[in-house]
C-alpha cells in the first residue's frame, strides 16, 4: 500500500511534520539546509507526485533567486570582496553564500509545507485542534461544509440575476464589479438567513448543554506508540545537537565552523533518519510485503 504513514495516528504524523518544519527553520548550516531540501523534495514527490512538486519548486526558485541576489546587493559585510557594484559598495562572497543558504532554507520550508498538506488533511487538522479548541474546530468543520454549498449558491444566484438581464459577465467593467457585489450581497442575506436554521439544529441537538466530547475515527495502535517514541527521541537528540551549537556555521565576518568533522557526520546521520523516517517506514513495508509474497 502506498503511503503507509498517512494511516498512522494524526498526532504521530503531526509531530513528525512539525519537527521537520521547525528543523528546516532552525539552522543556516549549509549541509542541514541541503539535507532538508533533498529529503523534503523526495518525500514531497512521493506523497503528491512530481507535478505538484514542480509547481511548488517554481515558486520556490523565484524566491530563492530573489533572496540569493538581494542579500549580497544590500548586505556588504564579509571579508572576501568579489567586486564593487556601481555605487561603490562591496559585493562579498560571505553575503552571497548567506543569501544562498537563506534562500535554500526558504525553499525547503515551502517544500515541507507541501508535505504537510499531503499528510495532514482537514479531518486530521480538525481532530488535532478539536481537543484544545473545540469551538474553533467545529467552526472550521462548519466552514468546510458551507464552502461547497455556497459555491453552488453563487451559480444559482448568478443564473437568476442573469435572467433579470443583470448577469455578471456582461456590461462595462464598473457594472461588472457592481453586479459581483450584488451577487455577494444576495448570497450573504440568503446564507445568513439559512444559517439561523443551522443554529437551531445545533441547539436542538444539545449544543452547549454540557462539556462536549470529541469523537474521532482515529485510534492509537502499537505501531503508533513505537513510532511516536522513535520520532520523539530523534527530535530531542537532533534538537540538542543543533541548538547546542555543534553545527553552528558563521558567515560573517568570514566563514567559520566545522562542516565535516566526525561529530558533524554523526549529527547529519541522525538528522537524515529523522527526516526520512516515513520514507524508511514505506521501504520496510515494501520489503515485508515482498517477502510475504515470496513465501506463499
Amino acid at each position: 500500500m502506498k503511503n503507509i504513514f498517512s494511516i498512522y495516528h494524526p498526532l504521530v504524523i503531526f509531530t513528525y511534520i512539525v519537527s521537520a518544519l521547525a528543523f528546516a527553520m532552525l539552522t543556516f548550516n549549509p549541509v542541514y539546509v541541503i539535507l532538508s531540501f533533498y529529503i523534503g523534495s523526495l518525500y514531497s514527490i512521493y506523497l503528491l507526485g512530481i507535478k505538484k512538486y514542480i509547481s511548488t519548486l517554481k515558486f520556490g526558485v523565484v524566491l530563492f533567486i530573489v533572496v540569493a541576489i538581494a542579500n549580497p546587493m544590500f548586505n556588504h559585510q564579509g571579508l572576501t570582496v568579489l567586486f564593487y557594484n556601481p555605487w561603490d559598495n562591496p559585493i562579498t562572497l560571505e553575503a552571497f553564500a548567506y543569501g544562498l543558504s537563506s534562500g535554500g532554507m526558504l525553499v525547503s520550508i515551502f517544500i515541507w509545507f507541501n508535505c504537510y498538506n499531503g499528510l495532514i488533511n482537514n479531518d486530521k487538522f480538525m481532530y488535532l485542534f478539536g481537543r484544545i479548541l473545540p469551538t474553533i474546530a467545529l467552526m472550521l468543520s462548519m466552514i468546510m461544509k458551507w464552502v461547497p454549498v455556497t459555491k453552488n449558491r453563487i451559480s444559482i444566484i448568478n443564473n437568476s440575476q442573469k435572467s433579470l438581464g443583470l448577469g455578471v459577465n456582461m456590461g462595462t467593467k464598473k457594472q461588472k464589479i457592481n453586479r459581483c457585489i450584488r451577487v455577494t450581497s444576495i448570497l450573504m442575506s440568503w446564507s445568513l438567513e439559512d444559517s439561523i436554521e443551522t443554529a437551531d439544529s445545533m441547539k436542538a441537538r444539545g449544543y452547549g448543554c454540557t462539556k462536549r466530547t470529541s469523537y474521532s475515527v482515529y485510534k492509537w495502535g502499537t505501531h503508533d506508540i513505537i513510532s511516536m517514541f522513535i520520532i520523539s527521541l530523534l527530535v530531542i537528540v537532533n534538537g540538542v545537537l543543533i541548538l547546542g551549537g555543534y553545527s553552528t556555521y558563521e558567515y560573517y565576518p568570514t566563514f567559520s565552523g566545522n562542516l565535516f568533522g566526525v561529530a558533524n557526520l554523526f549529527a547529519y546521520g541522525l538528522y537524515i533518519i529523522l527526516l526520512a523516517y516515513p520514507l524508511l517506514l514505506e521501504g520496510k513495508e515494501e520489503i515485508v510485503w515482498k517477502l510475504l509474497k515470496y513465501r506463499t
Binding site: M25, F110, N117, K151, S185, S189, T198, A199, K203
Partner: protein, 232 residues
C-alpha cells in the same frame, strides 16, 4: 469561567498586541539564529488569548453561525479573486464583521477566513501570519467602532485603506527578520519598497469593496441581529 480570569483575558488581548512587535524586535536585536522559527512561534502564541477568550466565552450557536457564514464568503472571495494578486475582498468583509459584531467576532472572522482559504490554497509558513493580521484588521475595526471617528464612513474607508498596508507590512516581518542578516535600514526599506505595489493593490481593493458593502451589509446584519436576537 470566573469574572476575574475573563477580565484577565480581555486585558491580555491588547497586551499581546503590543508585546508581539516588541518581542519580534527583541529576537532581531539579540541576533538569534532561529528567528524564522521564533517569530512564527511568537505569532502563533499571540493568537492564543484571542482564541482562548472565544472558547471560554462558550459562544451560542447563534453567535457562531454568522461568523461561519462571513468567513466562508470572505474565503471564497479570496479564492474567486485569486487571479489578481493581492486584490481581495477579505479585509473589507472582515472589517464589516468587526463593526457589526464587535472586536472579538472581527478577529475570529479574519483568522478563520485566512485559515479556511488556505485549506484550498495549501497551508504555508504564511498561514499563522495571515490569520493574525486579518484577525487584527477585524479586531481593530471592532474597537474603533466605539470611537467618534467611525461615526463617519469616510474614516472607515481610510481605515480600510491603511489596513491594506498594515497587512503587507506585518506579512513582511517574517521574511525580513527570518531571512535577512544583518538587518540594516537599507534592507528593511528595500523589502518594503519591493512589496509597495502589492500593498497599494490590497489597500485599494479593500476600499473598492468596502464602499459598496459597508452600509448595506451593516443594515442586513442588523436586521438579522434584530430578527433572531443574535449576539445579545
Amino acid at each position: 469561567m470566573s469574572v476575574k480570569s475573563r477580565r484577565l483575558l480581555i486585558i491580555a488581548e491588547p497586551v499581546v498586541m503590543l508585546l508581539t512587535p516588541i518581542l519580534l524586535v527583541f529576537t532581531t536585536i539579540y541576533d538569534i539564529e532561529q528567528t524564522a522559527l521564533l517569530s512564527s512561534l511568537i505569532i502563533i502564541f499571540a493568537m492564543v488569548p484571542f482564541f482562548a477568550r472565544f472558547e471560554l466565552s462558550k459562544p451560542k450557536p447563534r453567535d457562531i453561525v454568522p461568523l461561519v457564514v462571513l468567513s466562508v464568503i470572505a474565503a471564497l472571495g479570496r479564492v474567486a479573486f485569486a487571479p489578481i494578486p493581492h486584490f481581495k475582498p477579505v479585509s473589507a468583509i472582515v472589517i464589516v464583521s468587526g463593526l457589526s459584531f464587535g472586536p472579538q467576532a472581527g478577529f475570529m472572522t479574519g483568522a478563520l477566513s485566512a485559515l479556511a482559504s488556505n485549506m484550498f490554497f495549501g497551508q504555508g509558513p504564511w498561514t499563522p501570519w495571515q490569520m493574525f493580521t486579518w484577525g487584527l484588521v477585524g479586531y481593530l475595526a471592532g474597537l474603533l467602532k466605539k470611537t467618534f471617528l467611525f461615526k463617519k464612513p469616510i474614516f472607515i474607508y481610510i481605515y480600510g485603506f491603511l489596513s491594506g498596508f498594515m497587512f503587507g507590512w506585518i506579512m513582511n516581518i517574517w521574511y525580513i527578520i527570518g531571512f535577512i542578516k544583518p538587518i540594516t535600514s537599507t534592507t528593511v526599506v528595500g523589502a518594503y519598497i519591493a512589496s509597495f505595489y502589492f500593498d497599494v493593490t490590497h489597500a485599494v481593493a479593500t476600499v473598492v469593496f468596502l464602499i459598496p458593502i459597508l452600509i448595506p451589509w451593516q443594515k442586513k446584519l442588523n436586521r438579522i441581529k434584530l430578527k433572531f436576537g443574535l449576539m445579545e
